[in-house]
């Protein structure tokens, strides 16, 4: 248990949907980071639900500038603090959703990694542009029906696989990259801690189910996050110093559950036939084999 355990740094009363995975993630992340932190946030669900003027849910300093640049705004903060003789003890966090990380924010993120700013970028991934109304993103998994990749007579829904963002981040040879999810809070917190302690940029890919976009019950959020790991749909791992051959699997299910158990709880996958599900199962099997289990 960390020393900040008692202090809530994201105040209650924010406007997130009931059962939002991001809220649970943020509560844990900020508790672990503690009050000596400064955050940037990209435009998106987290920003609109927590910063409506004249209120704010943030108990740490926060700046929101635009959609694609949380990492470059954070770069400026880090450089300013370093230059102006701060002791370097302040954590600098850069938050963005999957759109602000995988897609529009990717250039700024890559630049921040390459320049080796001491910034931890945390991607809260709910697998589509949820804030604008469930449009597909390069984070959207194969087979998911979204408003711009709808399922239909001629369409399976999203027809491309999810972009492996954490591996791409790690390939920048950054000191720390990891994946995490809200079903395993201790694991998430441990990874936040490691990311913040890393000497240089760090990346956390946090898988956060979205009842509104995935169309599942708001009481199934944690269960789905757990099933994603237990089925092998989302693999929990960490890599230090850009390690590519020996990434550490941090949560290996003893016996993988069939992906169907994960898919059937979400109406975004309701249109999938047995044949489709078999195809997805095969792809997950292949991926797990790649990861060594």
């Amino acid at each position: 248990m960390s020393e900040n355990e008692e202090k809530e740094l994201l105040a209650s009363g924010h406007r997130m949907c009931a059962g939002c995975g991001e809220g649970t993630a943020m509560r844990a992340i900020l508790k672990e980071a503690g009050p000596n932190s400064i955050a940037t946030v990209a435009t998106g669900c987290l920003e609109v639900t927590t910063t409506a003027y004249p209120q704010t849910a943030w108990e740490i300093p926060l700046i929101h500038a635009a959609f694609e640049n949380a990492a470059s705004v954070a770069s400026g903060i880090e450089a300013a603090l370093k230059q102006m003789d701060k002791k370097g003890e302040t954590n600098i966090l850069s938050f963005a959703g999957d759109g602000g990380t995988f897609d529009i924010g990717f250039q700024a993120l890559s630049g921040m990694f390459e320049r080796k700013h001491n910034v931890t970028h945390i991607c809260l991934d709910n697998e589509a542009y949820m804030n604008t109304g469930i449009q597909r993103c390069s984070s959207t998994p194969y087979g998911a029906s979204t408003t711009t990749s709808p399922s239909g007579k001629e369409s399976i829904g999203e027809d491309r696989p999810k972009k492996p963002i954490a591996r791409i981040a790690s390939a920048h040879d950054i000191p720390y990259a990891a994946t995490a999810t809200i079903a395993y809070i201790d694991d998430l917190k441990k990874k936040v801690n490691k990311a913040l302690k890393a000497d240089g940029p760090a990346f956390l890919h946090v898988f956060a189910p979205c009842p509104t976009g995935w169309r599942h019950g708001s009481d199934d959020t944690i269960e789905l996050a757990r099933l994603a790991v237990e089925t092998g749909v989302f693999v929990l791992w960490e890599a230090e110093d850009g390690e590519i051959c020996d990434i550490k699997i941090t949560k290996k299910p003893k016996e993988r559950k069939p992906v169907k158990e994960y898919l059937k709880k979400q109406r975004r996958f309701a249109h999938l036939t047995e044949e489709h599900i078999e195809k997805i199962q095969k792809e997950v099997d292949e991926k797990c084999e790649q990861y060594g289990f």
Partner: protein
């Protein structure tokens, strides 16, 4: 008062020196012709231990302005340089810098916008960010580029202003042209420009605060009104700071500087490096007995309508010279000048001349032609063709 050092330098070096004397903390920058020498020079200053600052070699102009925003919100003095496509790419962030009331300063090497791609002098880049909420200054020569950088920091950071500012120097005509300048002594600039301390808070864990909130319809309009009021209150603060600068450093700046305007029937209104050529043309025409004057615009935003009325209100004709074009209307300075006189009982007849786009040379004879055309309109008592393009090549047009 320390001695001012005489130097012979290019325009970009002058703006970089102005920035250096202003002691910035963070300079995020991305190279783009014709302003590239600015980040090069800043890098050299840092490498040689002459400037204690952090330079961020960002991956785009969008990130340059984003990092300026992060640094400035953290309480740092932040500046950058850009031009043309770079300013277009950071367009989104210009509005955000102004909306957050962050006094960032940007040196602009004014250059045309694509297409066709063109790297030469033109005001379209910064003019296209007219509505972003930035103060805009334009230099006639390298000395002005140097001084205006220092002035821009001082004005932008004034508690009554708190708005970002850009200083334009024409691409190549100034950025790459060597001229003599006088550099103020560091201790005198330090006296004139104290360290920046944000008056309303910064990103500080000791006193947490949210920047860049969501402004719903219940609040947005009032917040924009406040920001606009800050801009509208700026002219007298600019005048006050220009006067103080003159007292300390002996160089006079005005939002608009009149030249031989007192008895002029026709006045040319210019901006940027073309003003020098226009002044020479005015001198020659005066020798020939023509009652012509020149008004040089140094501050484009906020637009100095009050001074324009004083200077040109009694003239018969005003020839507004624009190195930019808004297709479907005319030049930006023309639009602003026309708006300035809209409710006046008396207004000069106005003509708009589009010149010098994409680095096209502007000659003395061009100003004489503009004068003649304006004089014809005045004599006829009407303006048949409000917007005319000058120095066109008929062979290329064919």
């Amino acid at each position: 008062m320390g001695e001012q050092k005489g130097l012979t330098i290019q325009g970009n070096m002058a703006t970089a020196l102005g920035a250096k004397l202003s002691r910035p903390d963070v300079i995020p920058a991305y190279p783009i012709t014709p302003s590239t020498l600015f980040p090069e020079k800043i890098s050299e200053y840092i490498a040689d231990g002459e400037l204690d600052a952090s330079m961020i070699r960002v991956e785009s102009e969008h990130s340059a302005m984003s990092a300026c925003i992060g640094a400035s919100a953290s309480g740092a003095r932040a500046c950058t340089a850009s031009a043309s496509q770079g300013i277009a790419l950071m367009h989104e962030m210009l509005f955000i810098a102004a909306g957050m009331r962050l006094p960032i300063v940007m040196a602009v090497g004014n250059r045309a916008l694509s297409a066709p791609i063109n790297i030469w002098a033109d005001h379209q880049d910064s003019i296209s960010s007219r509505d972003s909420g930035w103060l805009q200054f334009y230099a006639e020569k390298n000395q002005e580029g140097l001084d205006l950088m220092i002035l821009a920091f001082r004005i932008a950071e004034d508690e009554r202003v708190l708005l970002p500012a850009m200083v334009g120097i024409d691409g190549f005509v100034l950025t790459h042209t060597v001229e003599g300048v006088k550099a103020p002594a560091q201790e005198d600039v330090d006296d004139f420009l104290p360290p920046y301390e944000p008056p309303h808070g910064k990103l500080d864990p000791e006193e947490p605060m949210t920047f860049g909130s969501l402004g719903t319809p219940e609040y947005y309009q009032e917040l924009k009104y406040d920001q606009t009021q800050a801009m509208e209150n700026t002219p007298e603060i600019i005048d006050e700071i220009f006067d103080e600068f003159e007292e300390r450093f002996g160089r006079e700046y005005n939002r608009i500087t009149p030249y031989k305007c007192e008895d002029a029937d026709i006045i040319l209104l210019t901006m940027g490096s073309m003003s020098g050529t226009a002044r020479a043309a005015v001198d020659e025409m005066r020798e020939e007995g023509e009652k012509v004057g020149l008004a040089k615009l140094t501050v484009f935003r906020p637009f100095p309508g009050d001074l324009l009325k004083e200077i040109a209100g009694d003239a018969d004709g005003l020839a507004v010279v624009d190195r930019n074009i808004s297709p479907g209307f005319g030049g930006a300075v023309f639009a602003e000048s026309a708006g300035t006189f809209i409710n006046e009982n008396r207004s000069p007849l106005m003509k708009n001349f589009i010149v010098g786009l994409g680095g096209r040379e502007i000659f003395k004879r061009n100003f004489k032609e503009m004068y003649e055309k304006t004089k014809e309109a005045v004599e006829a008592g009407e303006v048949k063709k409000p917007v005319e393009w000058i120095n066109m090549d008929e062979d290329v047009m064919r």
